[in-house]
């Protein structure tokens, strides 16, 4: 994280990739599939949110482990901000998915197994913030919430990667990868999709670094 905060080349990369994603994702030609039609373009805006969320939560999980090992409050601060941005990405993933489902499945929420697991993972991380709010001692808050963070991350894995594979779902890519089917991906889609994943993920970390700086300053001001 420290390296990411100091350097800036990857921010330019994120900007470039996202401009490319928006232009390419909306204008390039896409394969014409029944029912999906033009909504297939959501692939570049919906699926990368989940990639971003997973990466951010993983980073938050790693910082939580670091905090438990060293007791450094810096890791605790970073861990929280990463989880917040991860949660934000998850919410965006849910919203873009609902928007898409409204056009293809006929209603924004149809209780699909994948929608449900996504919603439950949001609940888990919301509970994480409730937990932080209910402990007043700083050291204690850091340790207890880091333990819950690790526990929550472990619950997230079966939720996102195992349970959806056991149930029937309408979601594209059913029966294999939980998000989409790699073999369905047309080379025209790949041309935008992979840069989109990288771009949105970098953008997520960028937001996180700004938030980390802000909360550092806030903490210094509180201490003074």
């Amino acid at each position: 994280m420290k390296y990411l905060i100091r350097t800036s080349w990857w921010k330019w990369l994120a900007i470039g990739l996202l401009i490319y994603t928006v232009i390419g994702g909306l204008l390039f030609s896409v394969p014409r599939l029944p029912i999906l039609n033009e909504t297939i373009r959501v692939l570049h805006f919906h699926v990368p949110m989940w990639f971003g969320m997973i990466f951010l939560f993983t980073a938050s999980f790693i910082q939580a482990i670091k905090h438990l090992k060293s007791g450094s409050m810096e890791s605790d601060l970073i861990s929280v901000q990463l989880a917040e941005v991860g949660l934000f990405f998850g919410m965006l993933g849910l919203l873009t998915g609902m928007l898409w489902a409204n056009f293809t499945w006929g209603s924004p929420w149809s209780g699909d197994p994948k929608q449900n697991s996504a919603a439950i993972s949001m609940l888990i991380y919301l509970a994480y913030f409730v937990l932080r709010g209910s402990i007043s001692d700083e050291q204690m808050r850091g340790r207890i919430s880091a333990v819950y963070n690790i526990f929550a991350f472990a619950a997230l894995i079966p939720l996102l990667f195992i349970l959806p594979r056991l149930a029937d779902s309408l979601h594209p890519g059913n029966g294999g990868n939980p998000g989409f089917n790699t073999y369905d991906l047309d080379s025209r889609l790949r041309l935008v999709f992979y840069p989109a994943v990288l771009g949105w993920t970098l953008f997520g970390f960028w937001i996180a670094t700004v938030k980390i700086r802000m909360s550092r300053i806030k903490k210094i001001r509180e201490d003074v």
């Binding site: 509970a127 937990l131 209910s134 402990i135 207890i144 819950y148 079966p158 056991l166």
Partner: protein, 217 residues
């Protein structure tokens, strides 16, 4: 180490035996919940509803029953801190919670069957899945209880923190028992049982690793 674990487990049961009211209170709680269910779900219970309702009842009982596991230790906190290793304490708590919740659950199942009746299914398989699910419930809620004890609203925290985390286990247990109630045989559910067991193993290992950190304060 084993003698310490044994003594700690025995101590918890002795407390239950001497105090009586927490344990009998929980039994009364589960009995009256089942009675409420019996009266309000009269004649609409299909086999699938039967198994799901049972697990939901068990979920709520587990939240209340296992909340006490660390709250009752608060005054002994310092004493434990100097005399035993945290792993010994958590292992004894896990075993105790599992036995405690299994007992309450079996009592509940008995009343549930007496009042609501039971569809035709293999009881052996159902019990196997029952113990598998109860293991997950008891371990996860014991861990959550050890976190909730440090917060301001201990009682609410059990439900707020516990429900989302327990959902994967609960969903696996419910879908398994639903298959059993609808007449599945071992071959049809073995892979799902194995997944549930492996999720349980992960949670047990995590609890053993993480508990020492949440304990020292």
């Amino acid at each position: 180490m084993f003698s310490q674990i044994f003594l700690l487990i025995r101590k918890d049961f002795v407390i239950d035996w001497r105090l009586k009211h927490p344990f009998t209170g929980i039994l009364l709680y589960i009995a009256s919940t089942i009675y409420t269910v019996y009266l309000s779900f009269d004649a609409v219970i299909t086999p699938a509803v039967w198994s799901s309702l049972f697990w939901i009842i068990l979920l709520f009982i587990a939240t209340t029953a296992l909340a006490k596991s660390f709250i009752q230790e608060e005054r002994r906190h310092l004493y434990y801190y100097f005399t035993i290793k945290p792993n010994v304490l958590i292992l004894s708590k896990l075993i105790y919670s599992f036995v405690y919740l299994s007992g309450i659950g079996l009592f509940g199942l008995l009343i549930y069957i007496i009042l609501i009746g039971r569809p035709e299914f293999s009881l052996g398989l159902f019990l196997l899945n029952f113990f598998n699910g109860v293991l997950g419930l008891s371990v996860a809620f014991t861990m959550i209880a050890s976190l909730a004890v440090h917060t301001a609203q201990k009682g609410n925290m059990m439900a707020i923190l516990g429900f989302p985390v327990i959902l994967p286990i609960l969903l696996l247990a419910i879908s398994n028992s639903r298959r059993i109630v609808e007449g599945a045989v071992w071959d049809q559910i073995s892979s799902f049982s194995l997944i549930l067991t492996s999720v349980n193993v992960i949670i047990v290992v995590l609890t053993l690793i993480l508990f020492p950190y949440s304990w020292k304060s």
